[in-house]
Subunit: 209 residues, 4 copies
Amino acid sequence: MSSPAVPRGSGRDAITRAARESFAERGYHGSSIRDIAARAGLSLSALYHWHSGKQELLTALIEESTAEYFRRCDEALRTAGDDPAARLGALVRATVEYRVSRQVESTIAASEWRNLDPADRERLDGLRAAASRLWADIVADGVARGAFACEHPDDARRAIVAACNAIAHWYEPEQGYEPDQGDEPDRGLAVPDLVDRYTAIALRVVDCR
Amino acid sequence: MSSPAVPRGSGRDAITRAARESFAERGYHGSSIRDIAARAGLSLSALYHWHSGKQELLTALIEESTAEYFRRCDEALRTAGDDPAARLGALVRATVEYRVSRQVESTIAASEWRNLDPADRERLDGLRAAASRLWADIVADGVARGAFACEHPDDARRAIVAACNAIAHWYEPEQGYEPDQGDEPDRGLAVPDLVDRYTAIALRVVDCR
Amino acid sequence: MSSPAVPRGSGRDAITRAARESFAERGYHGSSIRDIAARAGLSLSALYHWHSGKQELLTALIEESTAEYFRRCDEALRTAGDDPAARLGALVRATVEYRVSRQVESTIAASEWRNLDPADRERLDGLRAAASRLWADIVADGVARGAFACEHPDDARRAIVAACNAIAHWYEPEQGYEPDQGDEPDRGLAVPDLVDRYTAIALRVVDCR
Amino acid sequence: MSSPAVPRGSGRDAITRAARESFAERGYHGSSIRDIAARAGLSLSALYHWHSGKQELLTALIEESTAEYFRRCDEALRTAGDDPAARLGALVRATVEYRVSRQVESTIAASEWRNLDPADRERLDGLRAAASRLWADIVADGVARGAFACEHPDDARRAIVAACNAIAHWYEPEQGYEPDQGDEPDRGLAVPDLVDRYTAIALRVVDCR
DNA sequence: TATGAATGAGAGTTCATTCAT
DNA sequence: CATGAATGAACTCTCATTCAT
């Protein structure tokens, strides 16, 4: 009847995309796989042809996104040298860029973590803890070397991470569809500028000399 | 037959409590009204005797919690005088105290906001925006009067709010059940100390002179 | 609209009855719980109000029927005295009466045994083996005491049991709805007569002197 | 990629074999056509290339097996002479040999008969009735000629048939994989011996002089 | 020959809710 | 006040089958 919205053979991506949208809008438990399949322009059965179920859709999404975050952190720190401020800035940059480029996925990861199945959650909890350690080590090092003067490094770290993460909740990309709707001054802020701003904030939070 | 877990007449509260627990653990869509009734030690029908439905349980919880936040902000600002730093500190205190004393409810409010029914959501959106304005006005005022030197007041505001809000995700109250298990240095930190720490962070974020 | 086929509160039995019918007609996997609920004149949800699921319907049916068989065997042997022929006759009577009075359930038990869930199956396998031993002991005893002259007691036992069990496949109770349709001479044979016939056969199979 | 488990061109048989296994293990409605294809080491589409569907797999299996039973009965009776005992023995032999050599198929035929589609079922019902008549005629003849003294020929016939048919439920072929595991005395009994035993039983059941 | 992609119908089960008492 | 009984809609997932290549 109507021309098929999805070209033959490309069902997998269509479903992944639809799942991402639906999880973002309604949450995991609020999303029905019927809705996901419909969004993808496919039948319910096609979804099961490509994926093993609803849980797998969530797991794949979160896992891929979390892994990317780690890759970004790793790369950023590898080229950051030894200076605590530079290292802190590198991590801020990695986090901000991740939160902006993976705005939807990173938000889903944050809010639907508990809906991972236990085995996957445990595995990924490891990654999370490792990330937390990256931040903690840098702050501790900065304090130890007298670069950072903050009295409560753990709170500083948490504050910085929370601030960076929150970006995904409000940021709207540069070239939006409705540029005239300019009631939000930071709409369309370029990412490098955003990184600079949050790096500055982070350095103040740790009280960098 | 079995001794009633719930004293007569206190059914309403028992249900409210059970709903709070369940929403916190599994989210709104992940919670079943049967599970809530069971947690409360009551029958499904008793739940409907006291409340009009699942939606109402969520709305009441979020509304009450959000209203309390506003009361706290209001009171804090009323006694804060005119100094920008003092006013910012007052708002930080109100927010931190709220996030700690209403740890569970405030988290639910944040994550289940989208599941409010449209009418309620719209109404409460107004409160949210008002809160955002409280913060924004204080920061703007501080910048205008030269008390705060930060270049990007909106980002500063967002960072502070995010940091304060995040407290609910990790804070564990003072008198825990296992005080010896001291592997988390900030476990059981007293609330006034917490307020001081986050006030200091906030002042650094706005670059207060 | 139409008067309810099922009086309030009596849903449990209606469903049990419907499940028995459906399992008998179509087998376990061939029966849908939608069909079972419809046969019972109830909604799908009512089925789940009374039972925990399809599996439980099968298990309850088979378990109850199997237990009854054992009760019958037990009682029959308790009053049978010591004579091997009498004891064999007692077991034949118990089996025939069971197969006739529980015609449908016993057939389901036989054909759907493999669809029990593993835990239940294992438990009931114990009962089955015990029944087999009852038969085997009697035949062995009769042979040992020279009462039975058959050369292959295991085959004799199996033949007798198979013959008794098969009754459920063809027997039609005495007062049928259409007594004129007399093309089957044994239709409506009285149970005591049936017992006598099969007792005689059993005694010939073991070659009773 | 992977070495094909199934040699080219032998797909048809592989599927028939797999269907037989699956129907035997799980029953018709409990078997999925996907599982059958997987067992056969073929794709779902290959199954449909060779067969027209699930129903046909069942029909073919039952039909072929039932036809073979008739061939065996026919042949056995053709060479059996006129003596009632010899003729009864011939039918016992045909049945036992069939039940042993087609152990799996004959069991499926018995238990899945109702799942044949109506047209096929009706046709094959004719064969069944004819078989029943073969037995009945022989018994009646023996009784009429004074060779068999049993009082209830129909019950005798049913008992004999049931006993022979039951063999398929317990018999284990001669050359098992673990011949030492001799806890079942009749394991591996040679077929001619089995035939002798059941012939003897049958003759006792009809009370042959 | 043989395949991977796609489908509609239906499976068992759980949901929030209402009714009769 | 409070209950057990009952419901219809929706859920995730599997089914046998067909299509396009």
